[in-house]
Symmetry: D2
Subunit: 348 residues, 4 copies
């Protein structure tokens, strides 16, 4: 069976990456691509790398245009997806690449986003430890999927095994992320110009204001965190178009051995294709996962600092967004989970 | 009076930056430049940007060649400076850009470096809070100066005010640094190739092994830290030739107000030219300090995470190394402290 | 049928890219990977992005290890492939990613390479105009294939249509290429360090010494050039790990119309998947072809300068090297030409 | 004497670089900075690297605000400077960093810019060969100076010596430039976003439409070119914030020896501080001139291609724009020509 798909926000980065992955998916027919101000133009005018989709024209993002597909992907700015909940009621599968359906807590939504609160959808991070299982189980047969925030899922995957196993204390998490600017989207803001970013490291949202913080907290509570979950979160834009390298640490629980710590992560991700723990002493680079759906993770136990340090590399547009969406879609539809996804990065 | 200078390690990055700064110094005559394997070649073959020094030829790094100058700069790999202590006994001022004379603790030296331990020299970070004063006082009239480690001085300057004022707890410091590869020197190692570094973020020395950790601990103890000083330290090489952006945090001491926290840093760096605290809500980029001797610092109080977060940008080769050396030299010689140093960066 | 493959030079960039592509090829079993000094180590220690090949260990590059496969790929430094000609006599298909079997002229070989001259193999650029046909025809059933030089094939593809159609004069070609450093291989040379390349543009082989010049001349003669073929060729390394953007121009023949010029290229590449001429007024970026086997080409007729200007973007490691090899292999084996190759780039 | 200066367009890149250079100039007092939409904000909000100018506030760009200074610098978009000609009639020295006063030919202006034509001012490239002398002579005592286009002056300096000496034929010039995006200004255009530029090479204005072409033609005619001056000009944006690496070539005149060719450039730039010809076989990198007012030039005679190839590196914001302006200003005012300008680049 071939599923028809409409992708909204198709002239942006998240939409473009959805299209790149779906174009290689043998069970998918990309029938419709939509945009707002760019409607009427050829898709390839905005995504010149998508040569195989040169025949598509951007249509306006309206309920009428989106209706009638097996699958609709919403790759819209935060706050814009919610309006489609009702009009797409008959669509078998809807995937939101935005934040509107990620948070279960209205209070968290109000604190970090504001505007209308929408019901949470099934969270699209299959490997995430949830209770004694994994999020994958929730995705089987899901009809409404919320793709994760790229930074959030990276940090959640980094620390959830240790939280679930009780070997680290989620009450004093610190994470600093080197991120590529594509995570900020194709926004015309001065600080995102090439002249500003090339050759420079640029922090933003310092001090607890980043919107992915409640999403991490929610994931870690889901993984079994008890008590306060406190997260110091600092993203730094560095001069690479794509990629996240998250360095996350948390205090070691008293009495826990190095072996127990490592075992928590090994157990959590044993058998996973797309989340891999590197051998002791090895740490990943973002280049290793460029274009791939892989989260590569290195772990160190720093007894002098009394912290477990986890360094995780993902491609923010793949495993962080579109790859997570496709992987979740595959699970939801009963297709092989790795279809149209690669584990090997494009390096150097 | 004009001081004659010899710079060893002149074909490397630290040596080259010393020469760039000293070439603009009206009180300095660069008389001698030395190297090891490159001796006999024109300096400019290895430092093609130093057009004003095109007349200099690299001589071998020997005691005889280095002797007879007013000032000798040792920009040598760690472990190689110590051998010159005796032979340069008559040199009025010796500045070591390497690590050999930084640490006061033989135990720390043995733990992180190994090899012969050498007496500590006066530490070259003038603005660093020391007890109730600053390191500047020690540098007046100094004859042996140890230039700081670039990452170490960045983190020490970031946190020392809060430690000195007792508003943060040095027992659980976490710092993650986005750094340019020039900090690793001109070493022919595969992981430092352009193909490997461009477009990627690359962690190294994860988990507590970086050699700058004891140097930070020493500085914070000097600033007044009591009890354990614990530091989780992770450097990440990012695709910019120069620069350090250090994101450092520490727990807020109980009962301390936001105002008291900010005041600690404001007070510490009030009146300083080269260490500047940005207004609340502002954070620096490394581009802002490229080529300058400036450490720019932004501070956030994150009550949800119970941490003070300090983000500091420096040029690792200037304020992190050669600029710190020249600034310290100016103080030692009684010259204006800012001579030959710029506060404005080269941006964009 | 599944073909077994051995890839030599597997720890280098060209070898690594062959493996990345072949790992996704359904008709190929990667049985053996070899290296020289790195033999005995896991492949993944040198190619950490090739997660699906984590089970492979590098073996020594010897005739015995390479023998017994259906296909052998030689990704060795220039001058080292020739020695395997005899020992691999029984291997059904041998692909050389080096230069040893590219040139048909011993004189050209002696002038630009030197050392022993080897018989030319079938040149691996399927779309290249040759006489009234294309190189593809020669590749059907080929058993010995010389993959092209990345810069050479880029320039040859750029200009061959105009030469074949007689609309441009090959007697005064000028080409300047912005290239990523991965084209220079994983060589430990100071000028290839990240610190040197990041933030800088670096010319090399200026003035007619680059080894790809005779390869271009040979291709253009094959395309029908008469008289002298003169090429001014200047490569400039720029700060992107991969990619070639070649700006090539040649004088317009007298009396030729704009329409005739454009038609030459349109005709030559009509129906080609991997060599595409963009519409008038559009020009490609290297990001558009990252990781893809696509050569994207824009053409301008500059009457004021009396030159046709062709700007072509390729990924030097894919269409420039390994993709060309796989595409040629597919043709030689009678497989679909695009198997395991993508036309869409990874952008942004 | 101290000259008071007003800089308009102070929130942009050209204005910012003027301020960076002037801030270090002992004879200049920066009294006024102006902007349009950013008026009322602190300068440092837009130029966070200019720490020494933290006290300045952007004022509106009006005749009243600009009047009353010894020197006014217009760093405005093309077409906006002309309106100030009359209102600044009493200002002793006006420097235009835009294009409005560069071209002497109304026809060239109409063909490449359009809009109102303004009288040409004295062209600000002191070292440019003009007839049997240099442009420097025109700048002594000048009161109206047109700073050059960055690409134009780079190419003009590259080829003018050979044109003046009659050793190259200006009738078939080809130049391809690797340029940093800061040359395009702080414009909010999608193709200038960091995500688009990082990791990619991006051509623009291909085929003869770039506005610097008539400026080069004018300079070469001034240097003594006879007959048609034809220029194929292609700029390529590469991932470095600053810098131009221009590869320019022209046919060798019949009967000219290699020695005569090299002598033309050696003679032209003998004794020049800021335009330097490298020894035979050496070529410059843009990193070598970062932040410096230096044009570094390498020259090759390619007999096989019958072309002289000149590769020139400049910092587009310094020697290409603001440095040229300051150097010209120094000459106009009778100050030492190199005041506030550096010859050494910031590298690596």
């Amino acid at each position: 069976m071939t599923y028809t798909v409409a992708v909204s926000g198709a002239s942006g980065y998240a939409g473009g990456e959805m299209l790149r992955l779906l174009a290689a998916h043998p069970d998918i027919e990309i029938r419709t691509v939509t945009a707002n101000s760019n409607a009427g133009q050829p898709l390839i005018a905005h995504q010149p790398h998508l040569r195989s989709l040169a025949h598509l024209t951007l249509q306006p993002t309206t309920p009428e245009v989106l209706a009638g597909h097996d699958i609709v992907v919403l790759a819209l700015p935060h706050g814009q997806s919610g309006q489609y909940t009702d009009v797409l009621a008959d669509t078998p599968l809807v995937i939101d690449a935005g934040a509107d359906h990620r948070l279960t807590s209205r209070e968290a939504w109000d604190g970090f986003y504001g505007g209308e609160f929408h019901d949470p959808w099934t969270y699209g991070v299959p490997e995430l430890p949830v209770g004694t299982g994994k999020q994958r189980a929730q995705l089987v047969g899901a009809t409404r999927i919320a793709a994760p925030g790229c930074n959030a899922s990276t940090v959640s995957l980094s620390l959830a095994p240790g939280v679930a196993a009780g070997v680290i204390d989620p009450g004093d998490i610190v994470t600093v992320l080197a991120v590529g600017p594509s995570g900020a989207g194709k926004s015309l803001k001065p600080h995102l110009l090439g002249s500003e970013l090339i050759g420079s490291a640029n922090p933003y949202a310092v001090g607890g204001s980043h919107r992915h913080i409640p999403e991490i907290r929610q994931a870690l509570v889901g993984a079994g965190a008890t008590g306060d979950v406190r997260i110091s979160f600092t993203p730094v834009i560095v001069p690479m178009a794509r990629g996240i390298l998250a360095t996350s640490s948390a205090p070691i629980r008293p009495g826990v051995s190095d072996g127990e710590i490592r075992a928590a992560w090994e157990t959590a991700y044993a058998g996973e294709t797309f989340v891999q723990l590197l051998p002791e002493g090895q740490f990943p680079r973002t280049a290793d996962v460029l274009g791939a759906n892989t989260a590569l993770m290195g772990l160190a136990v720093d007894r002098a600092a009394n912290r477990v340090v986890v360094v995780t590399a993902v491609d923010n547009l793949v495993k962080g967004t579109a790859g997570a969406a496709v992987q979740s879609m595959n699970i939801a539809l009963g297709l092989p989970e790795d279809r149209a996804l690669t584990v090997n990065g494009v390096a150097p």
